[in-house]
Amino acid sequence: MAQLTLVQAVNDGLRTAMRADDRVVLLGEDIGVDGGVFRATEGLLQEFGPDRVIDTPLAESGIVGTAIGMAVYGLRPVAEIQFDGFLPPAFDQIVSHAARIRWRSRGRFHVPLVIRAPYGGGIRALEHHSESPEAYYAHTPGLKVVIPSNPYDTKGLLIASIRDPDPVIFFEPKRLYRAFREEVPEGDYEVPLGKARVARDGSDLTLIAWGSMVPVALQAAEEAEERDGVSVEVIDLRTLVPLDWGTIAQSVEKTGRVVVVQEAPRTGGFASELIALINDKLLLYLEAPVQRVTAPDTVIPLGRMEDYYLPDAGRVLRAIRKAVTF
C-alpha cells in the first residue's frame, strides 16, 4: 500500500481502470503532454499513448459531446473539465444528452461517461476556479453525482464510476488534492456508488457533509466533543445521487439533531434537498430544526476574502451548538 494524496489517488484510479479495460479513454484540455494542470493524469500519456489520453482543442461542449458519442459507441470515456467553472459551456451536452440518451432510446443506447472536474474553493484562485456547482447536476435526472473526500474513496469511487453504465459527474475537491496522504491499496478495488460513509461515530447529533467540507465537519465534530462533550456522528455522503438515505436515516433516528454543511451558496443547494428529505420522512425524530451551514448567496470572492465565505469549523461548531441547545 502506498501513501497517496487525493490527486495521486485520482491518477492511480485512472491508471488502474485503464489497465483493466482498454475501452477506457481520457480526454480533456492539457491532460496529455502536460499531465493535467493539477497533474492528475501525469504519466498516463506515456503509459497508454495518445489514442487513450487525448489532448483536445479548447472546447468543453466539444469534449463532452464527442465523449458522449464515444460512450454510445462502447468506449468508457473519462472527460476532464479543467475547473468547475468551465462546466457551463458543456451544460447542454450534459443535461440534454448525457443524462437522457438511455431514456430517449428506451435503453437501446446508454452513456457510460465520467466527467471529472476539480471543484470548490480554498486555493485562492481566479474567478471561475472555485465553484461548487453540484446542485445543478443533482437536480438533473439521469446523472449520478459523486464527490469523494479522501484518497481511498477517490480511487475506489472513480473506478466504480468508470464502470458504471450511466453518466457520472465526478467532483474532486481541489483544496484536498494535496492536503494529506492516506494509505491507498494498490491495484483494483471499487467503492460502490450510492453508499455513504460514517466518517465518525457519534450519538448526539448527525453532521452531514461531502467533498471538501468533510474535513471541516470532522474538525468541528472533534471540537464539539472536546469543548462541549457533544458526540457528533459525521456522515460523508460520497454520492449525492443516488443518495444513501438508509445511512442518513439510521443516524438521524438515533440522534434527532442534524447539521448539514455545504460549500455552495445557500439557496437551492443540496443541503436544502437533505432538509426536505428529513422533513418528508423523519420530522418526528427531530429535536431541533436542521441547521445548515453554507456559503452565502454570492459569487465566491477572489483570494483575499475567501476565508469569510467558505464554511469553516467554527461556523459548523456554532451550528452544532444551536442544534444541541435548541
Partner: protein, 396 residues
C-alpha cells in the same frame, strides 16, 4: 438499403473539382476555391454532362425514386394524422427527398446515421420503420427504441448538438480500428450554433470519418439563410477547420449521391471529414405548429416546386425508357398501402395501455431507491384515484 448494389460501380469519383486549396510559399499566399452548386441532373430531367453520372444501376435509380415516393406519401399522411390529432407536432420533409435519399444511399451498411428531427426518409432507408417514426411523433417514446441492426441514432432536437455525437462515434470507431463512418444531418440554421463549430473543429483535428450533411432548405423556421450568416455559402465554413466543403444541388439525387459517396469513400479511406451543403427547400411548414405564409411568398414556394426532386428523376427515368405512367401509378398506390399499414399498426400500439413504470424505467440501468419510491407513490395515487372514482360512480 436492403437492396443489393454493385459495389464496383457505386464507387463515385467526383470528376469536377469541388474544392481546392493551394499555398504559394513564395508569396505567402493561401488560396481556396469552392465550386458552387454542383449539379448533374437538370430540372428537366436531362444530364449536365453524361460523364458526371454516378455509377448507379437503373434498378438502383428506380429504387431511389420509389423511396422518394414513399417518403412523400408518408409525409402527407403524417400531416393528415396531425391535423386529426392522432399524432403530435410533426416536421414535414417534402421537398428534401433527394437530399436525404441520395446521401443515405451513399453509406456503407456498417456506417451510422445521426439525424436531427426531419430525416424521416434517411432513417427509413437505414431500416427504421414508418411505424416507429409515427410512434415517435405520436408521443410514444418507444418510437426511438432503435432496433438492433438499424444503424441510426435517436433524434436530436437541440439544434446542432448531434454533430458532436457523430464525431465522437466515428472517432471511437477509428480508435478501435473499426471501419465505420458516420453521417450527421442538420440544417442551415444549425451552422450558427457553437456545437457546429466545435464538432467540425474536433473532426478536423482528429480526422474522424464523419460526413457533415447540411440540408440548406433556406430557412430556420422563419429566418432566411441570408440572415443566418454573412458567408456566401455554407460549404465555405469548412475552410475554417482546414476541411473540404462542397455545395451541391440538394434536389438532384445524382449529385447528392455522388458527392456523398465521394465523402464516404474518403472517410473510409482515412481521408477524414467533409462538409456537404445540399441546397434544397421545404415545401411545407417548419412543423405543424408553424405557418409559412408569415415569412415566405407563394411565388417563392412555387418556384422551388419547379425544381422538385421527384419530378426531375421521374423525367430522367422516363427519358431513359425506364419508367411509365402505369409504373408511376402503381408505385404511389404501393406506397400508400405501405404507409396505411404502418398507420394501422401505429394505431394498434397507440391504443395499448402503458404502464407508468415506462416513465421511470430508463433513467438508469438500475432504478435507484428514490425513483422506485416515486413510482410506488404514483401507483398508489392512481389506485386511490381509481377507487375514489369507483366510489363516486357507485354513488351516482
Amino acid at each position: 438499403m436492403a437492396k443489393a448494389r454493385s459495389k464496383a460501380k457505386a464507387k463515385a469519383e467526383v470528376e469536377v473539382e469541388l474544392f481546392r486549396k493551394h499555398k504559394d510559399e513564395k508569396k505567402g499566399l493561401w488560396t481556396w476555391q469552392l465550386k458552387e452548386f454542383f449539379q448533374i441532373l437538370r430540372e428537366d430531367g436531362t444530364l449536365v454532362d453524361e460523364r458526371l453520372k454516378p455509377p448507379l444501376r437503373d434498378e438502383e435509380l428506380i429504387e431511389l425514386y420509389r423511396w422518394m415516393i414513399r417518403a412523400r406519401t408518408y409525409d402527407e399522411r403524417a400531416l393528415a394524422l396531425q391535423r386529426q390529432g392522432r399524432i403530435g407536432t410533426y416536421a414535414p420533409l417534402s421537398g428534401q427527398e433527394a437530399a436525404q435519399a441520395g446521401s443515405a444511399y451513399a453509406l456503407e451498411p456498417q456506417d451510422w446515421l445521426f439525424p436531427s428531427y426531419r430525416e424521416h426518409l434517411a432513417m427509413a432507408m437505414r431500416g427504421l420503420s414508418w411505424v416507429q417514426l409515427l410512434m415517435y411523433w405520436g408521443g410514444l417514446e418507444d418510437g426511438m427504441r432503435i432496433p438492433e441492426g438499424v444503424n441510426v441514432f435517436t433524434v436530436s432536437i437541440p439544434i446542432a448538438t448531434q454533430l458532436l455525437h457523430a464525431v465522437g462515434y466515428a472517432w471511437a470507431a477509428k480508435m478501435r480500428g473499426d471501419d465505420v463512418a458516420t453521417i450527421v444531418y442538420f440544417g442551415d440554421g444549425g451552422t450558427s450554433e457553437g456545437d457546429f463549430h466545435e464538432a467540425l473543429n474536433f473532426a478536423g483535428v482528429f480526422q474522424t470519418p464523419t460526413i457533415f450533411f447540411c440540408q440548406n432548405n433556406q430557412y430556420a423556421i422563419s429566418v432566411p439563410r441570408t440572415r443566418q450568416t454573412r458567408a456566401e455559402t455554407l460549404a465555405q465554413k469548412a475552410i475554417a477547420y482546414g476541411l473540404e466543403g462542397v455545395q451541391v444541388d440538394g434536389n438532384d439525387i445524382m449529385a447528392v449521391y455522388k458527392v456523398t459517396r465521394w465523402a464516404v469513400e474518403k472517410a473510409h479511406a482515412g481521408g477524414g471529414p467533409t462538409l456537404i451543403e445540399a441546397i434544397t427547400y421545404r415545401y411545407g411548414h417548419h412543423t405543424t405548429a408553424d405557418d409559412w405564409t408569415r415569412y415566405r411568398s407563394k411565388e417563392e414556394v412555387e418556384e422551388w416546386k419547379q425544381r422538385d426532386p421527384l419530378k426531375r428523376l421521374r423525367l430522367y427515368l422516363e427519358g431513359q425508357g425506364l419508367w411509365d405512367e402505369a409504373q408511376e401509378q402503381r408505385a404511389w398506390e404501393e406506397a400508400k398501402a405501405e404507409v396505411a399499414e404502418a398507420v394501422q399498426e401505429y394505431e394498434r400500439i397507440r391504443a395499448q395501455e402503458r404502464d407508468v413504470e415506462e416513465i421511470f424505467k430508463y433513467m438508469y440501468a438500475e432504478m435507484p431507491w428514490h425513483l422506485r419510491e416515486e413510482l410506488e407513490d404514483l401507483r398508489q395515487y392512481l389506485r386511490e384515484r381509481a377507487r375514489e372514482r369507483e366510489l363516486e360512480e357507485g354513488e351516482a
